[in-house]
């Protein structure tokens, strides 16, 4: 869809095209989910990292993502009460708040973002990629729902490489366990050509996603690759990878990015177009969702734009060339799972972030350390020092939580950010002095 408008209107309308499309997609998806029972649709719950949306679609299953539900609860400021509810029921204050938000939401009637009750899953597809919490989370859900649970283990990429043993193990699990069980639950026979079709569509959207994320290499960057990036990854990390909707969404987005690039414009923020780009940052770690806008504002008010982030790689790392490959349909699913960010070793993460700082000409690295996420957080202090050492650019550290509002201290975050920006300034003037001398 190419919207033709007068130049005066064009920016606004084009911005809207992708946003409207995404809104419509999400609304349709949640309606499909909440109407699954009356419509006789079966539902698979699964995780974002390592989600096998193409495979799930082969069995006409509707994809429900508890993490996305937790994010939605966070954005709608409901997660705080859900987390407390789970803690009242005996869950530890120390564990991942996504899990507690999900469990608390269930206890309070499991109401989705559209105000209707979310369905009970018919199958839990535990694609266990890069986080041990997943394993316990689905054991907890299985206890509640008492439904078929399928387990897919993704070996950890500890030595920075994918070995044949890892691929064979995953392919075997997929062929001998995952697919037969999905057939049984859904009553739909597996058709590998149908899978190939979806994979082809995935790759098409993935190309555009990479283009969009890499557009941040430009100065000024036309996008914010963290706060804005979270919206951009929504469809492809969620229930839309492999669909025409996703292809269309990313095409709109790409056109918008091209427009902004051509006009030399920066990202669009919730308060309108961003002012002058003053700082370019790489961010490691998930965001905070309970105070998302306030958090973002602390950046754009200061002219700080995020040019690359690791979080936009949790549902798939595409910028190093991986694309879903219809010619190797099962192996490609395995490689996809193996490559997601949280399944990459710490040295790989350091290298990736250092390269981002260099390739995107960033002023430095900012780590948002999430209290309840060991998968991301354990090791971040070393990552920070290493990236600093390798790039010569300053790194800084803030602490928040994903969906537990108790761990978001605006004053604290703001203070740390301000000192960080000062550090960047000092570094710059230091460099200038050196050059002048």
């Amino acid at each position: 869809m190419k919207i033709t408008t007068s130049p005066a209107q064009s920016k606004e309308v084009l911005k809207d095209a992708s946003m409207l499309k995404q809104k419509e997609m999400m609304a349709k998806h949640y309606d499909r989910l909440t109407n699954a029972e009356p419509n006789d649709n079966k539902v698979a719950s699964t995780f974002v990292p390592g989600n096998l949306n193409e495979l799930i679609m082969c069995f006409d299953l509707v994809n429900n993502l508890p993490e996305v539900n937790a994010i939605q609860s966070g954005l709608r400021r409901k997660s705080g009460a859900y987390v407390m509810e789970a803690e009242k029921a005996g869950h530890s204050e120390d564990v991942c708040t996504y899990v507690k938000s999900d469990i608390g939401m269930m206890a309070k009637g499991n109401i989705g973002p559209n105000g209707k009750k979310l369905p009970n899953p018919d199958v839990l597809l535990l694609s266990y990629t890069g986080c041990f919490t997943f394993m316990k989370w689905f054991e907890l859900l299985r206890e509640q729902y008492n439904c078929e649970t399928i387990f897919l283990q993704t070996p950890y990429m500890a030595d920075g490489k994918i070995t044949p043993n890892m691929i064979q193990y995953m392919v075997k699990q997929l062929k001998e366990d995952v697919i037969p069980k999905l057939e049984r639950v859904s009553g739909v026979k597996f058709d590998i050509d149908r899978l190939r079709e979806y994979l082809k569509k995935s790759a098409e959207a993935e190309d555009d996603l990479v283009y969009i994320l890499q557009s941040a290499k430009n100065k000024p960057s036309p996008i914010d690759a963290y706060f804005g990036g979270i919206y951009y990854i929504g469809p492809i990390f969620g229930a839309f990878r492999g669909t025409d909707d996703a292809i269309e969404y990313y095409r709109f987005l790409r056109e918008e990015v091209d427009e902004r690039l051509a006009a030399g414009l920066g990202p669009v923020t919730p308060d309108g177009p961003m002012g002058k780009e003053k700082y370019r940052l790489v961010v490691e770690g998930p965001p905070n969702y309970t105070n998302f806008r306030q958090f973002w504002k602390m950046f754009y008010e200061e002219g700080a734009v995020v040019v690359a982030s690791s979080y936009t790689k949790v549902g798939g790392t595409y910028d190093f060339g991986f694309r879903h490959d219809p010619d190797r349909p099962i192996e490609t699913l395995a490689e996809y799972c193996l490559g997601v960010y949280t399944n990459r070793s710490l040295p790989m993460r350091v290298e990736m972030l250092s390269n981002y700082v260099n390739d995107y000409q960033a002023d430095g690295l900012l780590v948002n350390s999430i209290k309840s996420c060991n998968s991301f957080s354990a090791g971040q202090l070393l990552i920070m020092r290493e990236v600093e050492k390798r790039t010569g650019k300053p790194a800084a550290f803030i602490e928040t939580d994903l969906v537990d509002p108790r761990y978001f201290s605006a004053a604290n975050v703001k203070n740390r950010l301000e000192s960080y920006f000062q550090m960047v300034e000092q570094k710059r003037s230091g460099v200038k002095k050196e050059v002048a001398a």
């Binding site: 699990q173 001998e176 957080s377």
Partner: protein, 391 residues
């Protein structure tokens, strides 16, 4: 044997426990040129393979409550458990400078990430994340695991500069079978007569096995068994409990002692599971790596770090342990911020509720100093069990 034998054995173990310079392992290494030491973290590694290559497997369990953590805190946020930071401290302070390799088993995200940190911080040392299967079909998880075992063996052979025969592996399996047998006897004796075999002593005797050569440790356990059985110790009016959730970061010794002082006999626990992970003897006939893999898949302990494929089986191991040992209650004691233990706990508690088994729960850190609250909680628990069983 006389009482002084028990005291002597335990005193020796205590010295080993407190020695954060690992003098015993250093001595072993220095005794012959070319000897190598492989450190490993909780919860399980196949020590047989390390042994077969002629190396000493050395259990690294953090710094306990003796080690002052100076550097380690700079590597971890306050909301991450303590064992990785004290392990880093051991490394940075040179206490592990004689260790030729480190294995980080697949147990949780913290240890997983620590494996990468080790690679970056100690680039000259062999270090490996040891992945294990969470699926238990022979030709799926089993094949994967056998290949991982083969890879580990090849790595260690290279490090040792020597090849290992199947017979070497079989011999090592045999040696560890023997060790597991005496450890099982130790646990059985304690379940039977906990007053004869105090939990803190069992802990120290077992812990010695993480730093001594296995043959020496087997002798030590045998000596302790004989000494403990012949000793005359008073039977107290304690209740019998199972201690669970401590499979990784260790509680301070004082915590274990406090439980007994407050009226609980510990009749089973999940401390240092590596010593009991394989629940049966591993067959010595046939392909040794296949046998180790089969044992892992089909005869190994349940713990929070594992996926339980069968929902009906979830937590049942704990109920069975209660029945087997005649325990009257379960104490969940877990390290603060320990995801696997703390996420698993509500499910296990539901199973216990269902089975009518009382329980309490608390958290600790390896360097917790304040035992009073734990003593009070355990004391109240013991009293309520007694009242409950009297009613």
């Amino acid at each position: 044997m006389s009482q002084s034998d028990t005291a002597e054995i335990v005193a020796r173990c205590h010295v080993l426990y407190e020695d954060l310079n690992f003098t015993a392992a250093r001595k072993w290494k220095d005794a012959e040129p070319g000897r190598k030491v492989i450190g490993y973290m909780p919860v399980y590694v196949p020590r047989e393979i390390i042994h077969a290559v002629g190396m000493l497997p050395l259990g690294i369990l953090g710094g306990g409550d003796q080690l002052e953590v100076i550097h380690g805190d700079a590597y971890y946020q306050s909301y991450i458990c303590r064992i990785p930071r004290s392990t880093i401290e051991l490394g940075v302070s040179g206490r592990l400078d004689f260790v030729d390799g480190m294995l980080f088993p697949s147990i949780c995200d913290v240890i997983r990430n620590l494996s990468g940190m080790w690679k970056m911080m100690f680039p000259g040392v062999y270090s490996k994340y040891f992945d294990v299967p969470q699926t238990y079909e022979d030709d799926v998880g089993g094949t994967f695991y056998e290949n991982e075992l083969t890879e580990l063996l090849h790595d260690l052979e290279e490090l040792a500069g020597r090849k290992v025969s199947e017979d070497d592996l079989r011999r090592s399996i045999e040696v560890y079978n023997r060790n597991r047998q005496v450890v099982r006897q130790l646990y059985a004796l304690r379940a039977q007569k906990p007053w004869q075999v105090p939990a803190a002593e069992v802990y120290l005797v077992l812990r010695a096995g993480l730093v001594l050569p296995v043959e020496e440790h087997t002798d030590l356990v045998e000596q302790y068994l004989a000494a403990a059985e012949s000793e005359d110790r008073p039977l107290r009016d304690n209740c019998r409990v199972i201690l669970t959730g401590m499979f990784c970061e260790q509680p301070p010794l004082n915590l274990i002692k406090s439980l007994e002082l407050s009226g609980c006999y510990v009749v089973d626990d999940d401390l240092m599971l590596v010593t009991r992970w394989l629940t049966d003897d591993v067959p010595t006939a046939g392909d040794p790596l296949h046998n180790l893999s089969q044992a892992f898949l089909h005869h190994s302990e349940s713990t929070a770090a594992k996926y339980e494929p069968n929902p009906e089986e979830k937590g049942q191991y704990l109920v069975r342990a209660v029945r087997r040992t005649g325990a009257e209650g379960v104490i969940f004691a877990s390290p603060s911020f320990c995801d696997p233990a703390l996420l698993d706990r509500p499910m296990l508690q539901n199973v216990l509720k269902e089975a009518g088994i009382p329980f309490i729960a608390f958290k600790y850190a390896e360097n917790s100093g304040q035992m009073q609250p734990i003593r009070e909680q355990a004391g109240t628990f013991a009293d309520s069990i007694k009242l409950w069983s009297a009613a």
